[in-house]
């Protein structure tokens, strides 16, 4: 009996070592991206990760989440506390400067010294350059922001789908008609995602050419332009064009309001196309249109660009076991084939361009709208520090309810920048 028990224990030990050895074959990579939650490319990302795991035998610990200010703050905190991931898919603008300047990520130049083919399928001119003049991230797909419309709601209200010459006055008249018909004109949570409207309203009070200028003082022309944009949002709020609970609703709630045929307009980004593809009852009810133009801005001028990319952290690079796995992961996720599955109508930095497969009605609508876009510019908010941006958008609710003037909100944000 004792011998049998001893044999059994030995067998268990041998099998245990065997299983440990089996795990030791591959490397486990910690990866953080914004392809979490209801991101339209979540499915494509999962498929790409699975393909990588099968091809390499490595494992991926996926710590992806939905991108918002809280997520950005968490990523930066992880770097500061030494618990950063091995590979990070993150914003390439001022948001990345804290960990770039701290030397926590590896430059493309350094990686290419050992892996000469790294990211050579990308146009160098379209890769983000950090403050130190070096390139650190391999760009993924780009983005655009524009107006989604619910065609069924518009038809019920007798309102036409806006074209590239849509004006602010036409928009206000349409909103009034839609409101009278019992629908919510604009789906937006001003407490969670006021930034889409802020960006276009600022551009409506300036031009594409000067859109990326930052105020140097609370009294200069650019600050006045920003305040005018905030006041335009306030006017829409006071007219009752946002959902009744816009100051307490989540973004998910207001997007669902739009999806369920209760709201007519929604400003959002290219990533939301995937959401509607997965959740809309009938994609033909939706279209990509144009944000109404005002002053010197035409409705055919939109926000867009390439704002995110893959970083390899110094921690992974200095780990001999993870270095190759991380390089291989980024190379595979940014290959022409894989990136083409992420892209429908967005721009890419691929030298050969992306070749997306057949487009659905909403994607086709986005492609048609993009064909009419006369100018595209990045988001000015990306040039603000996280603290300043957080303060500015947290104060939008105070501006629209009259607790704070738009000028004071801009001054408060600038003081933190």
């Amino acid at each position: 009996m004792k011998k049998a028990l001893a044999l059994l224990l030995v067998l268990v030990m041998v099998l245990s070592f065997g299983s440990i050895a089996a795990f030791a074959d591959g490397v486990t990579l910690n990866v953080v991206t914004s392809y979490g939650g209801d991101d339209g490319n979540r499915g494509n990302f999962e498929a790409a990760v699975k393909a990588y795991e099968e091809a390499t035998g490595n494992k991926v610990n996926d710590g992806s989440a939905t991108s918002n200010e809280e997520w950005k703050a968490k990523v930066l905190t992880d770097f500061e506390t030494g618990s950063e991931p091995d590979v990070l898919f993150y914003f390439t603008n001022a948001d990345a400067e804290p960990f770039i300047s701290a030397g926590k990520v590896v430059s493309i130049e350094e990686i290419r010294a050992e892996y000469p083919d790294y990211a050579t399928n990308m146009k160098s001119s379209m890769m983000a350059v950090a403050a130190d003049g070096k390139q650190y991230s391999v760009p993924s797909s780009g983005y655009w922001e524009n107006m989604f419309v619910n065609k069924a709601v518009l038809a019920d209200c007798g309102v036409e789908v806006p074209g590239p010459d849509y004006t602010w006055d036409q928009f206000l008249a349409d909103c009034e008609t839609i409101k009278e018909a019992g629908y919510t004109p604009i789906a937006c949570s001003l407490v969670e995602v006021p930034h889409y409207w802020f960006e276009f309203m600022v551009m409506n009070n300036g031009t594409v050419a000067n859109h990326l200028e930052l105020p140097q003082s609370p009294d200069d022309e650019v600050a006045a332009k920003w305040a005018a944009g905030l006041n335009d949002i306030k006017a829409l709020y006071e007219a009752g064009y946002f959902p009744a609970n816009t100051l307490t609703a989540s973004d998910a709630e207001t997007v669902e309001l739009f999806n369920a045929g209760e709201a007519a307009f929604l400003i959002d980004g290219s990533w939301k196309v995937g959401y509607f593809t997965a959740n809309a009852a009938d994609l033909n009810d939706f279209a990509i249109s144009y944000v109404p133009g005002k002053g010197d801005r035409s409705a055919s001028e939109a926000i867009g660009g390439i704002s995110m990319g893959y970083f390899i952290t110094r921690k992974a690079w200095d780990d001999p076991a993870k270095r190759e796995a991380a390089v291989e992961f980024v190379s595979q996720l940014t290959s022409d084939e894989v990136l083409s599955t992420f892209v429908t109508t967005e721009v890419t930095a691929l030298v050969n361009g992306a070749s997306p497969a057949g487009l659905n009605p909403l994607q086709q609508s986005a492609a048609d709208a993009n064909a009419n876009i006369t100018a595209i510019v990045g988001a000015v908010q990306d040039s603000l520090s996280a603290e300043a941006r957080g303060d500015l958008f947290a104060n939008v609710q105070n501006v629209v309810t009259g607790k704070m003037s738009a000028e004071d909100a801009v001054a408060s944000a600038l003081a933190l920048n």
Partner: protein, 308 residues
Amino acid sequence: MNSMIYKKKSPLLLFLVPAFLFLIVYLYYPFFQNIVNTVMKIGGLGRAAEGMNEPWYENYQRLFTDPYMRVALKNTMILILCTVLFQVGIALILALLVDTIRVGAQFFRTVYFFPIVISATALGLMFNLIFLYKGGMVNQLLLSLGKLPYEIKPSGKMIVQWLDWKDQAHFLFTMFLPVMWQYVGFYFVILVTGLNNISPELYEAAALDGADGWKRTRFITLPLLRNVLCTCLVLAITGALKVFDLPWVMFGAGMPENRGWLTGTYMYDQTFNKMNVDYGSTIAVLIVVLGVVLSNVANRIFRPSEDI
């Protein structure tokens, strides 16, 4: 043998020192470092301090002038009051009721304790759906009962004026109800344990003397439960000061319109979202001070009786 154990104290130290060292490293050192942080200028978690604040007590000054801090303190005090009245109060009533039944007591203990084991995040999401503006459970119920006004447009479209449970008129109720609901079971279990420790002979003697159920509760149960109740109150007060997860999931950063802050959520927002680590540390110190002061006050008011 027993006498040897009591005479020789040194082995006890062997067991006490590791836990003591652990607390020094992971509780007292961070706590004192946190106090130091309150006078420094720190622009992000893990970042080195950029010198001292000018003046060094700037953050403490701000505590008294910050309108959102006043909101957080006011809401937290209301939460403490609700916690004492409703959490401990309801738990006491339930414990007294369950103590009187012979069949099914174990069943009710499990049922009332169950919310404790569910994660606060899951509960927050669940209550978000219950209080959802359009189509939430409560609003649908009110609509079916005819309690929500609605209008039929010429097109036949029905426009319902849904009740916003997170607006300024309702947010305290919506925020506190799940917190109350989650922790009633915790105090219930403590109180039931206290009730079980009361000797049944006392009740039998009182019954022979002709005391009815209310008199037995009033003159035997409640006085003998006083020490346990005192412990529950201290736990409830200090617990309410630290409440964070459920309100954060449901209301995020100060919703609605910065009127929904609690000390816990405001500290988190300042530290992790606004990257204002030194001010977040100052709020943390205030939470600790309030906890110590309030639990001492509670101890003095409901001083445990040494006769019990």
